[in-house]
Amino acid sequence: MRLPPLTRVTPGIATVLLVVSLAFPSTVHAEAKSTGGEAAGDFTLRSLDGGNISLSDFLGKNVILVNFWATWCAPCLKELPKLQELQDELGARGFTVISISVDEAKDEAKVKALVKRLRYKPTVLLDVDTRVVNTYNPRKDMPWTMIIGKDKLIHHKKKGFTDGDEKKLKEWIEGLL
């Protein structure tokens, strides 16, 4: 497609973006409150332990932390033990962690070895063809986390992990329990 030169195109883009940004700011929320959020759509993935698991198996019953990770992502490997600690501490109160590996199919053996080595207990699902991550986290930012309340709505989303973030996650989860 033939388009006008840069000097003509850039202001057009900027105008569109400005209009979009002006049109929506009053309706957006950085961290949705427990009274609202976007609905969590269902999905079904293969579990690392065998069989299929659907999000709807937990939706409405527990507060769910869904975490996208990969074996090649160093911050993800720092985060996994912290997620296990959260589940150990808050599981009895109705909290569940679902970790979704987005490693490619060729690395599936590495996922199992890593999970076993870390003695990681929460549910691990495999999204080898990026079907689910492309819906929730299309840029495949790693790690990427969302917290779903018992009202089936997504209340919090978070990209990345640095030491100390687990405190914020705990605060968010406890606010929904």
Binding site: M1, A39, R117
Partner: protein
């Protein structure tokens, strides 16, 4: 060349006004977004039962701007450096989700400047090249493939469009989607955002899930992403698509036992090809052992004018065993591939690879220069990886040894077979010292490729046989290490990441060359090193400043005078050593906004992730990226 077709305005006063207008709009937009931090736009009422209950609209905008400077590598040659130029990429992704339905698009726009419509640039060009020389812009957009290699100063692409229904038992996707069967030996087409490589299938995918069986049916055409953040656009021919269709059936007679069958039809180089395969997996045998096996067979369509040795059949076998007991986790992988990696559709710039089989290799280290174990027409290998994890000290010790016999020649390094040995060890140790957390992660390894003179020379001409009998047997080696040291205390985090690779190969005869110090050096051992270091400081997880110092004397990734172009891929003894220094900042003031800026030099080279590689250009100058989520 199509200079005459370039239609551009005269940016005199109007151009100045345009720039002011643009800058003003962008600034206003940033202020607006900063004032209204967002992650998603809620469309529906919160009252359950409403049609748009919980519906959300996610918009992501990423702007990428590069100002490319050129250094005059040789001031004595009286040739001035090329003109500086701008590059601009804008990527917009829009994702609407309503209950179990989602809809999305990705739009890219790439532009470059200055063009010959810019009177200032025209004057500079005429001053340097003379009034009679046709004006040529320093950088232009590439069109769709070779047919129309140069289009204009800007292109727009609607890269991806999809609609999806995702339910408990059914998943339906229309438009662009991704797919993988088994362990990726027959099919693996997934998005690789780490290297901005994104080839999807455009068509229909249907999945049915039950407790005992899953069924997938898919069909579509290949749709590679045209615009890359680093390379503006790829010059891919989007009209030269290839069709693919396949199905997969998984059966689970028991929760711990799964068997699957899959079949695929591919269009490779306008000829149909086929594959059929299956997997068997058993997990948690005695709570300590997992087993997996996959076998695939490939049947290639052969054109009439193909070479006599063009393969028409291929096969691949891959198996793993994972043992976990106490502190020990042991992973054993083995493979045998014969003509299993011809699932490639060649094309301009970037070929489309339909599969991505397990390589058994330490891919981050080896993919850059030694691809024998990643892409080989005939290879047999095994890898053993024991890991020990000590709960008390939170220490992980990893070791791995891979052995492979590669029967495909890889000229120019070797026309013979090769036996590869690759051991490496790694340590992962987090330490808590009061309020300070230290995390040390590193590995070191060495790979050696031993040449093995080919025994069976039948089918070759007398001349070829003689060449192979007398050819010098060249050894190649690769020493590598990586180190990641992180220290965090309170809201402060420091990280040092360093990688090093030393490639070496034996020369047939002693050669002499001049060292950087000016001294003459003679040796039979030649090679190069690549060292990359990054030191970063992050405050509150939001503000990061980093310094990069890279060095290479690799002739394959030399900087070609930093001319913003892809490196010279021909081996050249006359390379010059290069050090690259750059600084960057990354700011995330609010959750929906990320600002990135880089100033300095960046070496050209191959960026590899998970076995897939892409060449990125050398760069000197300033670049910035703004990413916003609405």
């Amino acid at each position: 060349m199509h200079e005459a077709e370039v239609v551009t305005p005269m940016p005199t006063r109007q151009g100045i006004r345009t720039r002011v207008w643009t800058a003003g709009l962008l600034a206003a937009m940033c202020v607006t977004v900063l004032a209204a931090p967002a992650s998603a736009i809620k469309l529906g009422q919160e009252k359950d039962g409403s049609a748009l209950h919980g519906a959300s609209l996610n918009i992501n905008e990423t702007f990428y701007y590069k100002y490319n400077l050129f250094l005059d590598d040789d001031p004595d040659d009286e040739r001035p450096p090329p003109f500086a130029f701008h590059e601009f990429v804008n990527r917009t992704t829009v994702d609407l989700r309503v209950k179990k339905f989602s809809f999305g698009v990705q739009m890219d726009l790439a532009a470059a400047g200055p063009g010959c419509g810019d009177s200032t640039f025209r004057e500079k060009f005429a001053e340097r090249h003379g009034e009679d020389t046709d004006c040529t812009p320093p950088n232009r957009m590439l069109g769709d493939g070779w047919e129309d290699p140069i289009t204009d100063m800007a292109i727009f692409q609607l890269e991806k469009v999809f609609a999806q229904y995702s339910g408990r038992n059914v998943n339906v996707q229309l438009g662009d989607y991704y797919a993988a069967f088994g362990r990726g030996i027959a099919l693996s087409m997934v998005k690789k955002p780490e290297i901005d490589q994104d080839t999807s299938l455009r068509g229909v995918r249907f999945d049915l899930f039950t407790d005992r069986a899953d069924w997938t049916l898919l069909g579509g055409i290949t749709n590679p992403q045209q615009v890359s953040m680093e390379l503006r656009n790829q010059g891919l021919d989007k009209t030269d698509w290839a069709a693919l269709a396949g199905t997969s059936l998984k059966l689970r007679p028991h929760r711990k036992f799964e068997i699957s069958l899959h079949g695929l039809g591919y269009e490779l180089q306008e000829l149909p090809s086929w594959s059929a395969g299956g997997t068997v997996g058993v997990s948690d045998i005695g709570s300590a052992l997992d087993l997996f096996f996959e076998g695939d067979w490939f049947f290639y369509g052969i054109p009439e004018d193909a070479a006599d040795d063009a393969p028409d059949i291929g096969h691949a076998f891959y198996a793993t065993a994972t043992v976990y007991s106490g502190p020990l986790t042991l992973l054993v992988e083995t493979k045998r591939y014969k003509d299993a990696q011809h699932l490639v559709r060649t094309g301009p710039v970037v070929p489309i690879q339909y599969n991505n089989p397990p390589s058994l290799e330490h891919e981050l280290s080896v993919t850059e220069d030694i691809n024998g174990s990643i892409q080989s027409a005939e290879i047999t290998g095994i890898r053993v990886q024991p890991e020990l994890y000590f709960l008390k000290t939170n220490t992980t010790l990893t070791s791995s040894i891979a052995v492979a016999y590669d029967q495909e020649p890889h000229p120019p390094f070797s026309n013979q077979h090769e036996l590869t040995l690759h051991p490496w060890i790694g340590l992962d140790q987090p330490i808590h010292l009061g309020k300070v957390d230290v995390h040390l992660k590193g590995d070191v390894g060495y790979r050696h490729d031993f040449p093995v003179r080919r025994g069976d020379l039948s089918g070759l001409s007398e001349e070829e046989q003689e060449t192979l009998r007398s050819e010098f047997l060249r050894h190649t080696g690769l020493l590598h290490y990586s180190l990641d040291l992180g220290v965090s205390f309170g809201v402060h985090a420091l990280e040092l990441v360093s990688t090093y690779k030393r490639h070496a190969f034996t020369l047939e005869e002693e050669e002499c060359w001049t060292l950087a110090s000016g001294q003459e050096h003679c040796d039979r051992d030649d090679g190069w090193v690549a060292l990359e270091n990054a030191l970063s400081y992050t405050l509150m997880g939001k503000y990061t400043a980093a310094l990069h110092v890279d060095f290479t004397d690799d002739p394959i990734v030399q900087n070609v005078s930093n001319r913003g172009a892809v490196g010279n891929l021909n081996y050249d003894k006359e390379w010059r050593r290069s050090t690259y220094l750059g600084g960057e900042i990354i700011l995330k003031p609010v959750s929906n906004l990320e600002l990135y800026a880089f100033f300095g030099s960046q070496k050209s080279g191959v960026v590899c992730t998970g076995g897939a590689c892409r060449t990125v250009p050398a760069f000197t100058g300033f670049k910035t990226r703004v990413s916003i989520n609405f």
